[in-house]
Subunit: 277 residues, 2 copies
């Protein structure tokens, strides 16, 4: 583990850390915010999975989460979105390959060598965080943006006992049914669509996966709303499954961090309430 | 005027605007946040002057000011720190030339052709903002960071009737006495140190300029504290002049936006109180 930077902020410590990952076979970088409360004992943790083209840095710089984390005593961890480095193959376009790991373990060459983001965010990184930082692993929440909203939903639906709460900002809710998801799942997992269902929130719910409730915010001026995000598909799946979905359609907001940062404090307060319970 | 971007955020509108500047003879870019209250009438304005190497973008992305501006109904304007473009000469190092205008009107060739940031931030941009946006120009406040803290202090000290309040984050308080300032003031204004005094907050106070009070935050882990910022010089000048200085030395904080964003809401609340009065 190499600490790339450490800055005092909002009474706590914002770290950026690089480490060798067995899951991806590369170095991986994440950020972690330790609130002031972490000086005196374990704190609950919120995982934040980022969207296409992003690294840990976008939310760390623009997410405006530290004030709320300091208020509620939350540790906030932001992993990268893919393996990086010269040895890692890249895809065509911003939506496949580096910066676009889609939180799956690729089975298709050449991606299957390094693109193991599912194992990284569900196993390796949690183990490392639990070992190195004062985290109460009995109190975990997860959220994310866009591709990372997809990641948060699928990770939570497949680990219902691990997370006390799950939310998302402008998530891709049904990747099997939209261009970004079809490109990524097809590329990483191949053409057998049965394998895609474990990485598709709507399909997981249709197949019986459950969480008690979901909080989702999406902007009405989001350019990707109709073609890639399709929140109505999640609305229908949750209604059919009896999952209490709070879906906030935010008038005039777009897909950017100007949107995310606006509602970050609301999401963190919502998670904090459930993490305290 | 060309709107480069517009994003809804925290209930208001974050704009980035490019315009032709007569003061600098170049295109200039600034950002302006219009809080929700600006939809229904004029709002007070807070000017934010940025530090070395920065443009409007740093504070716009990392400053965490929008939540507080939306709460208090403040318009927030962030100019660039120098003229830009191929026609603009650049200096040696990050601390002179582009990104380092130091909020003076240069008198020395070749800088005197474009580096007129004093006129730009004190005359041209305020006139443009007053004409184009719903600003109550009777209620203005100013703040800034590092070189921009120097700018905020000197602009306010020389316009005591214009600003109801002035604060700064890690300001250069006495540029005539520190390396950054000596390089910049010498380069832009020449070797006649008498001309420097109008661009040196401590010298201005010594020469009789007055504001009723000042709010300054600085981090104890700021790498530039002892050599470039020297807040004790401001402390002494204010004590001698009867200016009520609140100087907060923040334990463990550095020079970065992790520091600024931590105390931004405090500064904006302090300004809002004085702008409401």
């Amino acid at each position: 583990m190499e600490i790339l930077s450490e800055n005092r902020s909002h009474g706590g410590r914002q770290l950026v850390v690089k480490h060798a990952s067995a899951a991806t076979g590369t170095k991986m970088t994440f950020s972690i915010f330790l609130p002031p409360q972490a000086e005196s004992g374990p704190c609950p943790v919120v995982w934040y999975l980022s969207g296409l083209t992003c690294s840990h840095a976008n939310v760390t710089e623009k997410g405006e989460y530290r004030a709320a984390c300091a208020e509620h005593g939350l540790i906030f961890v932001a992993p990268d979105t893919s393996p990086r480095g010269e040895e890692v193959p890249d895809g065509e376009g911003y939506d496949f390959g580096k910066g676009a790991g889609f939180y799956v373990d690729a089975t298709q060459a050449p991606w299957s060598q390094h693109f193991h983001m599912w194992t990284y965010v569900t196993q390796e990184l949690p183990a490392l965080i639990a070992a190195e930082y004062p985290v109460d692993m009995g109190r975990q929440a997860i959220t994310g943006h866009s591709m990372g909203g997809h990641g948060a939903l699928t990770v939570a639906l497949r680990h219902p006992d691990r997370f006390r709460s799950v939310s998302a900002f402008a998530p891709i809710v049904a990747p099997s049914q939209v261009p970004w998801g079809q490109k990524a799942l097809g590329g990483y997992l191949g053409n057998d669509r049965a394998a895609w269902r474990k990485h598709d929130a709507v399909a997981l719910i249709e197949d019986g996966a459950r969480v008690p409730e979901l909080l989702v915010d999406v902007g009405t001026a989001d350019n990707f709303l109709e073609q890639e995000l399709r929140p109505a598909l999640l609305e229908r799946a949750c209604a059919d499954a009896g999952i209490a979905l709070t879906l906030n359609r935010r008038e005039g907001y777009d897909h950017s961090y100007y949107f995310i940062s606006t509602f970050m404090a609301d999401h963190l307060a919502w998670h904090a309430e459930r993490l305290r319970a």
